[in-house]
Symmetry: C2
Subunit: 583 residues, 2 copies
């Protein structure tokens, strides 16, 4: 594509954003971006994700929901109708930055009011960057209820990926409990605290096996051999490859809790994409995937084609109590029903953090990727602690456990409404004397709904600081996800972050991501530019942890937004304001 | 209290009432009516209603919710905050006519929008008539989830009940499933249809015993003897009486499904009140109570005081698969823990309809009660049938299965909004050739949200006509409940109603009620005056049947309403209208 046409196209895009997509037709004339329309109905369905019947929150009769496939630059329009009997719903488009459309981010109480039963809300947004994404519920624990699906953005027409492949597959990873999400919410909000425990099953594209194993001969404890006709809701989707071809495997994790490790028996994987950003390719035989992350890997079907191979996914970072998820890499023309003769790849020990860190540290931006600003305007240190409020167990950030308000921040800030949430911002740091290696001396904390107001276009450094939980010698992995932005991951470190650690920051080729992990007792540093007017959640992507208050909200430049659709703000004080005001 | 101070206080009340309750001022001047305030939070709770732990929808940490107690003429104010994570909620004040306050009737999609999570709605209404009432959720199947409690209205000060008693007890009857209400909703909405089955337990004031029996020696199948310390959530509440005193027992049934029969071993009961209206006293040894009904009975503690006695409640009208609920009538000073030596009263055979009808036919208005108009202005015949829509199992009235709209009728009618619901009224009758004794020839029906628009102050006769369900030789009991009015029950009959049946109508002393049953293959005739501006549900009080479309809506005189609180109408087209309109 000629430089001239690229420049012209950018101009058009600026205009398009300015008018909230009114003029998308012009864009459509110049290049081949399209409007991709979906009509979805969210409803409960009987389903057997792991061969054990339960209830899932599905879309249009499907679980997981339909896959959205579009090209970079396309406008995605999802007309979402809530067919749940009594519950509200929203959908978050995980990894899509929503430049200029913060009301379409799909976070209840932050970007919009929940869509009430019977009502329809139109999500309309541009998918501006090719990559592997997904979507999921972002209200209560509706993600745990199964409200999720894949969102894949191909490169724009006439553009190419910076790597070659002959075919591709998609794997959406999730975890599944037999206890329904409402009861999980209640358990987590109970005194005494009731932990939901480890998931009963891991699901690959919504399919797992609870009471049988595909690799029964190797299973411990012993399980019977799964027998499938192929039409079962829990029958595995095998991946059929042609020998010696190269395949792209897209992987995204929407787990509620589990950190995962994926391997393809006997096959090397080359990591090429992380969270919709290209990375400098590197090879591994297994890879960790935390909730909220997505990757693309390439693999070559270079093994003995008369055999099939296991694709295995197991739990990392928590003492596992969930069997590996398995499916089959099938070499054509070998029968897809032929089970691999080998043992499925062994998931690395759950607490082998050295292994985890060595993988994570290898992720670097592809040469030529955008570089971070060299300095920051504001540094926000976020201490992650487990705490108590009146005997309830909570997670808190800088000693505040996030409790979302009734009125979405986007509206209450735009309309400068008083009393919608706490006036004062939460602290930018925590006590330097806090001992991150020990349980909190005073575990009591408070609820809060104050948020970080960021100067528009300022550069923000965030230092996520892990710490000891309530129990001695416990510090957990937390995968953090930022809405509305990608950030550069500047580095990871052990124990408490100090100013001296800045010298370790990677400003040369830090990867751009939207999700990043903090390791036990460690810190993670990231940088982003607050260039997207809106209110944006930044939170631990473990759904029970977010439910227990583990998140913050950033807001920037909301005064610049012209036309927030009223439909997004029909509740709370904004709803009242719209109803009361005299024009 | 001096009369002067009473008068001054009344004045203040008049001012308060003057805004919404114009006509009550006269009453307020005469007696000492009060405003009774409640602050409630609805939330899920772990609870063991029948000694088996589940999740209930409770209020202020209680299940059943707190009892409201007020005097006739008082204003009840309930500030209801929704603390459910993702679900809306409303509460219906069953039996309270809401004269002048139809927006406080608490029926989602009819009188108001559901209250969203985090939001507060203020129910404010006058309880104008002494009697035994209750309240319950009226959104989805939240009544099945346990959202209910008692509402008792004593006679106004200086007034007397037309009967004497020395003490009183209250029994709120309900049924309980171990499957949660969301899954029940889904089951009932599934193709193929999944029936929820009979309840696991019957509850007396929210207490039942699932895995043990209070009368183990008589239980069949055998169950172990219940042992209670008394503090258990499922421990029975015994009723302690003084020998030879007279007691009033208030009974209300908020069952989701079960028709019940109550007996007090060895004690005669005198029925004196039905649905908040006095009836001509009559004696029975057992009584039927259908969902939605309430009664008061008097009994004298005239048995051997060295013994205790069983109070038993069993299932009627459906082949039972639920053990009797039991509690103990304890004669002071006999220990309350002493079990009765006798066998608990036997519930009459489930299908002994002769027994049921003979009880029902004995209910007559107390002499001096208001008499019905002698003629009607409009007769509406309502045929009750079980049907199918696209393979889904439904109930329909005159071949329309009620499907509630997004915008509450009260608002869409008041503001004359187009497209809020079907323009045409449902039919006033059904084909004269319909054979009520056989399954429907064509079982297919349609959804509909059209409603009956009644002329204000007109007299309406309704003939509820039962029929054969989908299966051969099946016709079920349906207890119908009318909101916003009491009606006179003019009579019951067998098979198909014809004009000749009019001569059997009782216009002399028909009981005033808000709930009435249709017997299998029978009809029930009732008359009411459409004198209460509002939109009012009239429906089968079996929660699964209503969920499956078994109801209609009446509306009258809505143009007369001046100030419907906007808070009741924030959703759907009314919400949109309020937000869009220029003042």
């Amino acid at each position: 594509m000629a430089l001239a046409s690229l420049a012209a196209r950018s101009c058009v895009l600026v205009i398009v954003f300015g008018l909230c997509f009114l003029s998308i037709s012009i864009e459509a004339k110049r290049s081949s971006t399209k409007v991709v329309n979906f009509k979805w109905e969210v409803e409960y369905m009987h389903w057997s994700p792991d061969c054990n019947e339960g209830v899932v929150m599905g879309i249009n009769g499907q679980f997981p929901g339909p896959t959205i496939r579009a090209r970079a630059g396309d406008t995605v329009v999802v007309e979402l109708t809530n067919k749940l009997p009594t519950e509200g719903v929203v959908i978050h488009w995980h990894g899509i930055r929503q430049m200029g459309t913060p009301w379409a981010d799909g976070t209840a109480a932050i970007s919009q009011c929940a869509i009430n039963p019977g009502e329809t809300f139109i999500y309309k947004f541009i998918v501006d960057k090719a990559g592997t994404y997904f979507y999921h519920g972002h209200y209560g624990m509706q993600r745990s209820a199964g409200l999720y699906g894949s969102l894949i953005v191909d490169v724009a027409e006439y553009k190419k990926e910076p790597f070659h492949y002959d075919g591709e597959f998609n794997l959406l990873l999730s975890d599944w409990w037999h206890k329904n999400a409402h009861e999980q919410e209640l358990d987590l909000s109970s005194k005494p605290f009731r932990w939901i425990g480890e998931p009963q099953s891991l699901l690959l594209n919504g399919r797992g096996q609870y009471n049988c194993s595909l690799a029964a001969q190797f299973s411990n404890p012993p399980l019977s051999q799964c027998k499938f006709t192929g039409t079962e809701q829990c029958a595995p989707q095998t991946m059929t490859v042609q020998p010696n071809k190269i395949y792209r495997l897209r992987i995204a994790s929407t787990t509620a809790l589990a950190s995962l490790n994926l391997a393809i028996g006997g096959h090397k994987m080359v990591v090429v994409e992380a969270d919709g950003n290209y990375v400098e390719p590197f090879s591994v035989y297994d890879m960790d995937i935390y909730s909220g992350e997505s990757y693309s890997i390439l693999f070559k079907a270079d093994q003995n084609p008369s055999q099939n191979y296991w694709i295995s996914v197991g739990v990392r970072g928590r003492k596992p109590n969930t069997p590996q998820a398995l499916t089959i890499l099938n070499y054509s023309p070998t029968l897809s029903t032929k089970l691999p003769t080998s043992r499925p790849p062994t998931t690395p020990l759950w607490n082998d953090y050295y292994h985890s860190k060595s993988f994570t540290n290898r992720i670097k931006a592809l040469r030529g990727s955008p570089k971070p600003p060299t300095t920051y305007n504001r540094r926000i240190m976020l201490l992650n602690t487990q705490n108590r409020i009146d005997g309830f167990t909570k997670w808190a950030i800088n000693n505040i456990s996030l409790s979302l308000p009734v009125t979405p921040y986007l509206g209450s800030i735009k309309y400068n409404l008083k009393n919608a949430f706490a006036n004062s911002q939460p602290p930018d740091s925590f006590s330097p004397s806090y001992d991150v290696m020990r349980p909190p001396v005073n575990p009591n904390t408070t609820h809060g709904d104050g948020i970080y107001m960021l100067k528009f276009n300022s550069t923000i450094d965030v230092i996520l600081q892990n710490a000891n939980a309530l129990a001695d010698n416990v510090s957990e992995i937390h995968p953090w996800h930022l809405h509305g932005h990608d950030f550069w991951v500047l580095g990871y470190g052990e124990e408490k972050f100090t100013d001296k650690d800045v010298v370790k920051f990677n400003l040369k080729n830090p990867p751009l991501r939207n999700s990043v992990v903090i390791f036990p007792y460690g810190w993670t540093a990231l940088r982003f530019v607050a260039d997207n007017p809106g209110a944006w959640a930044f939170h631990c992507h473990i759904e029970p942890h977010l439910h227990m208050g583990m998140g913050v909200v950033f807001a920037e430049g909301i005064y610049r937004l012209k036309n927030i659709p009223k439909e997004a703000l029909t509740c709370g004080l904004t709803g009242k304001m719209f109803m009361d005001r005299k024009h």
